[in-house]
Symmetry: C2
Subunit: 378 residues, 2 copies
């Protein structure tokens, strides 16, 4: 007989399969509606089974940040095509990636934002005797990687790529991660529109310089869920949408019921201010939100484990030690041994900390899936 959530040892990272499927469907429909390809980022789940579900739902391929993360999926023949949406500058890593992708007959596209990155890609492609498609990354406001739109280096890099016998210009790629700092959905939609406008201007500038831009790839869960203009965009690369989290709820992108990932924990002690739960930063992570953003209050919310009780007021996970969480009592009187379900601030690092995801349906465990690419950061 299947175990119910309340019978599991804790802490355990849960994924509600039915909600996961609804979340997959929601974004696949957005892609269809706007006629853009969906190429999900696997960093959120790092799990072969979920990648296969994404491909079954219509994803054209997958996205990863790091080579070793991508290789886990490539070696399992997960999809026809992979984009490394990360500027990798070590030719040894790229060589490993190109060799494996070639062996598995998987298309591998890379991302560059510097001459050093182009040199690394050329050297690696040459040693594997390959021609590789390369995106140029544009900074659309996160101010992390990528070139700003009026940087003359944009045209220079595209020219370098186009003139290389080992490289092919794939197009422009961006990530509007600053959407996580937006106060509401309206502002997120504006950020999506700004991103699209920036990329159109870069495309025009490249056209004037004689370069065609085959693809325009953007991606962040907030801009995909809240955006209403995908003009000029050919592809979206959201990651977090499969699970969602307390950050998505805070941004107004989802309700708690729409979050597919949670952590079941047990109250193991209590003091006058807090219930102490057996999940801390080694399960929930210390993330306040994506890219270090966040409301600055707490590390998630604790809900009763039974779905029917979901209307109960969520309790704040106010503080974390490594293996303990401090849940505000808020006048409640819960016994030691009581189980709670925590919706974390940020689902992506939670999956990365877990040995496995426990898959549930209607409150029962139905499967366990390995987090196969956990810890693959090179």
């Amino acid at each position: 007989m299947a175990l119910r959530i309340a019978e599991l040892e804790t802490p355990e990272v849960l994924v509600d399969r039915d909600q996961l499927l609804r979340n997959l469907g929601r974004v696949q429909r957005i892609a269809a509606q706007h006629d853009v390809a969906l190429r999900p980022h696997v960093k959120t789940h790092k799990c072969i089974e979920i990648a296969r579900l994404q491909l079954e739902h219509g994803a054209v391929g997958l996205t990863a940040s790091k080579v070793d993360e991508a290789l886990v999926f490539i070696e399992q023949a997960c999809g026809p095509s992979f984009t490394l949406a990360y500027p990798i500058v070590d030719p040894r890593k790229l060589q490993r990636a190109f060799a494996s992708a070639g062996h598995q007959n998987v298309e591998l596209r890379i991302t560059v934002d510097s001459e050093a990155g182009i040199a690394a890609a050329e050297a690696a492609a040459k040693s594997c005797n390959k021609t590789v498609s390369a995106f140029v990354k544009i900074d659309v406001g996160l101010h992390r990687c990528g070139l700003v739109e009026d940087d003359p280096q944009v045209v220079r890099l595209v020219r370098l790529i186009s003139s290389s016998s080992q490289l092919r210009f794939a197009g422009l790629l961006s990530h509007a991660g600053q959407a996580y700092t937006a106060p509401d959905i309206a502002r997120i939609a504006e950020i999506a529109a700004e991103e699209s406008a920036i990329l159109q201007r870069v495309r025009s500038r490249l056209a004037s310089a004689g370069f065609d831009v085959p693809e325009v790839s953007v991606g962040s869960t907030p801009t995909v869920l809240a955006g209403n203009s995908f003009e000029a965009v050919t592809e979206i690369r959201p990651g977090n949408y499969v699970f969602l989290d307390a950050t998505a709820v805070r941004l107004g992108l989802a309700s708690f019921e729409e979050v597919a990932l949670s952590v079941v924990v047990t109250i193991i002690s209590a003091n006058s201010s807090y219930f102490i739960i057996d999940g801390g930063s080694k399960v929930l992570s210390s993330d306040l939100g994506a890219h270090g953003t966040g409301a600055g209050v707490g590390y998630g919310v604790a809900l009763p484990i039974d779905v029917a009780g979901a209307e109960a007021a969520p309790l704040l996970v106010a503080r974390l030690s490594e293996e303990h969480g401090f849940v505000e009592r808020a006048g409640e009187d819960l016994a030691i041994g009581t189980k709670l379900r925590v919706i974390p601030n940020h689902a992506c690092p939670v999956a990365n900390l877990a040995e496995r995801l426990t898959i549930t349906s209607q409150g029962e465990m139905i499967d366990q899936w390995q987090v196969a690419a956990r810890g693959k950061v090179r």
Copy 2:
């Protein structure tokens, strides 16, 4: 030929063996000087090789938080004795622990702070036909787990334990984690003295009620390194001292040179404000410090990789995404491809995120050790 640090693929978690050994020696000498037993907490390293070094240096046994974390070491016959310094309330977990410890002939001591915990321990011990030593946890100021000193429940729990045919009263156990909020060493030493005073008062109260207190076990790296009074204490359980980190440096407990764990990273991009490195929260964690404490500025510091350059001003890791770190430029002009060594805020979650520790000596890789108990949170 051994790889030098600059030749490693990044990010990679490094442990300098020579500094590790000096850190082990430092605390072992403190234990000898104050005539207390040293029982290190393995949560910091989760690594069999380091546990064996601790035992070789004179540790009387080991400490863990979670059962599955302890079992990794127990099943490798790592030491004669283990303390679970965590109130576990699920009898299934305790049963698993008692059975394995019995099989390996390892003494296993547990910690309780509630009647629920005692009931779970009794049930588990009964089912394994064992008598188990149990500590009662006292809250000495962290206000997490444990009973406050004047709670009548202290005497009640000791009476319950003493009258149980399955349990034996081991003594008092505490963790003065609030030491991480201290502004300086002097305040940390005061906190250590307060902890000792509280535990002496509880011991006196128990004596009046007719109970002997065989052991008094305390432990946190700051109070061990800064404390000068271990009166009434029989055992110390520090964890972080093996590595130390930017928090230990901030507290005045160590210099950057005395930190044994660091993460070698590469500058993979740059913008007008930041160098972007290839280590983010999935390598460095988002911890500001232990127990959610911290200076509130940044996620560690970046230093040149060559030891000779250690006098160079450290650069602040100001912000993290999952796979990127934002390092303040501070007027420096470092090329893409430059490698840096990051000293994280908190070493414990960093080891837990790593697949392995790369062991170095004099700038060369000499070994790689698995983080065997990584992710063991149940």
